[in-house]
Amino acid sequence: METINTSTTRAKKSELYTFIARFTRDPMGLCGLILVVLMVLSAVFATWIIPYDPIALDILHRLEPPSIEHIMGTDQLGRDVFSRVIMGGRIALKVALISISVALSCGLLLGLIAGYGSPWVDRLMITFFDTIRSFPTIIFALAIVTLVGPSLNTIILVVIITTIPVYGRIVRAQAQSMKNNEFILAERAMGAGVPRILLVHMLPNIIGPLLIIASMDIPAVVTIEAGLSFLGVGIRPPTPSWGSILNDGYSFIRNTPWLIIAGGIPLILTTLGFTFLGESLRDIFDPKLRKDI
């Protein structure tokens, strides 16, 4: 009979191995991984990759189709579209990371309180969550923009406000089902305080699935940012964002198709990439997550 130690370390090693084996066998997941890595790297190393200054004007060469000097052509102010596209990736990534991490932390906290606390605190929070979820996202975003004024921070604020309830609900559901787990009851019997129970015992069990769900929200957040920038209420020009490139493309659609094509491609690749990757990861780690709210 093996001792307990060796069998768990053996289990850990083979777990990683099986994960890699399964992951590499999924073409969609691999594809997603490649796209995500591409996007992240190009965003991080943007300043080194871009051939031109994204906000440098060159009116003489406006609205040109793709050429050797300008791989994706130029926009209505003569700026190099490719450079703008690459820089736009930075904005997208920045918004996604900041808003999701803040929303995650707040949602985690609120969800734990709702799930573990007394029933009327729970009722209150749930009703509050549900109310925010009843606002159609973009329409609500536009309302906030009207009050607060358009800017990147507004978008981040909006995304945070609208995603906290989603995470909150998930965490709450998990916390509630775990509340009556035997090991939690045992801890309470031993006199453990509420914060300790929440942080030390419940948190590690909730965070895994939550992270996967959050990573699958990245495409949605990128979409919101692009959408609001497209409407002109997001990023302030001349900072490039994929949405604002699409906006330019829309205004000049009869002059050239290339702006729309160029603005759309990174969006499509990013959203596809993260979605494929997220799907693949979810299938490997916990297919039950397919039934999220």
């Binding site: 606002f135 159609p136 329409i139 309302a143 009050l147 409407l231 209420v233 699409l246 499509i268 799907e279």
Partner: protein, 314 residues
């Protein structure tokens, strides 16, 4: 059953009330003078004073919120300062266009998505199933407005098969349908993907359950098993999803209306954002939210009608 209906309706009402309060309070929470927000940067102090008195902004916040809620339930959502018309009138004028678009979008998603999902579940790992699988994930991922833009570019501008602008001639049904095709396609495409995946997963799960095995053990014909025993159960999560879907479609329709220059709430909101016309925006958000709440409520109720187990819990 009636208890469930009552519970569900009262929940909806509570949410609407909280939504109204929130929207109104947001005006008060913004730093600075609310009347300046509403009237814009070019307003004079006299205009602002008049509005302040008119809106009763000197009263305590709770009273303001309360009286606003009451007014909304009476149908009064304030007056547009620029045109002096009631907000509710302005919003309701534009509403039908948006609703038609949403209806068209979700209809074609259902008509294509559900059968595709069923077929995929029954013919697992067939070519169509695999194709639908990749296609679904793809269309769910890509944002609706990008699809709209590309659609506009390819079919309207480049190929000129379909119109690019507007909702079509009044009274000319065919023309209006032609104008609906691209926008409805754009907002519905992602939902074809969602629905087919959900139906497929649902059906597969249900088909693996014990009671289906019982039905087979009694020799029931396969068609009966699929449609009455499996599909009825599998379709339940779809109903809930479509209730939520309306909310997303309301958002997507904003883009579709702007890209295709269609009249509707989306266009109304967009123009109001540019002029910082908060009363119109508030009215639009309220009405779209109420529609959303109604739709999710109806979805839950339909769910309860179809699933007798649901009626016991909220």
């Amino acid at each position: 059953m009636w208890i469930y209906l009552a519970k569900r309706t009262s929940l909806a009402v509570v949410i609407v009330i909280i939504a109204i309060s929130l929207l109104y309070s947001m005006i008060l929470m913004v730093p600075g003078d609310p009347t300046a927000v509403i009237l814009g940067p070019r307003s004079t102090p006299e205009m602002r004073e008049a509005l302040r008195a008119d809106m009763g902004l000197d009263r305590p916040a709770i009273v303001q919120v309360g009286s606003f809620i009451l007014r909304v339930f009476k149908g009064d959502m304030g007056t547009d300062v620029f045109t002096n018309r009631p907000v509710s009138q302005i919003v309701f004028e534009q509403l039908p266009y948006t609703m038609i678009l949403i209806f068209a979008g979700i209809s074609w998603a259902i008509v294509l998505g559900i059968p595709l999902g069923c077929y995929s579940a029954l013919n697992r790992n067939s070519f169509i199933d695999k194709l639908t699988g990749v296609f679904s994930v793809g269309t769910i991922a890509i944002p609706a407005f990008v699809i709209a833009l590309y659609g506009l570019l390819i079919f309207a501008v480049h190929l000129q098969w379909l119109p690019a602008i507007g909702a079509g001639e009044e009274g000319d049904l065919v023309d209006q349908i032609k104008h609906l095709i691209l926008p409805a396609f754009a907002i519905g495409l992602g939902w074809v993907g969602y629905l087919s995946r959900l139906v497929r997963a649902s059906m597969l799960e249900v088909l693996g359950e014990n009671h289906i095995r019982t039905a087979r053990a009694f020799g029931l014909p396969e068609k009966l098993i699929v449609f009455r025993y499996a599909l009825k159960l599998a379709i339940l999560p779809t109903v809930a999803l479509m209730g939520v879907g309306v909310g997303y479609l309301l958002s997507s329709s904003v883009f579709a209306e702007i890209v295709f220059a269609r009249p509707g709430i989306g266009k109304l909101i967009y123009e109001s954002v540019l002029t910082r016309n908060y009363p119109i925006i508030m009215g639009s958000v309220l009405i779209t939210t109420i529609i959303f709440v109604l739709c999710t409520m109806m979805a839950d109720i339909i769910n309860a009608i179809l699933d007798p187990r649901m009626r016991e819990n909220l």
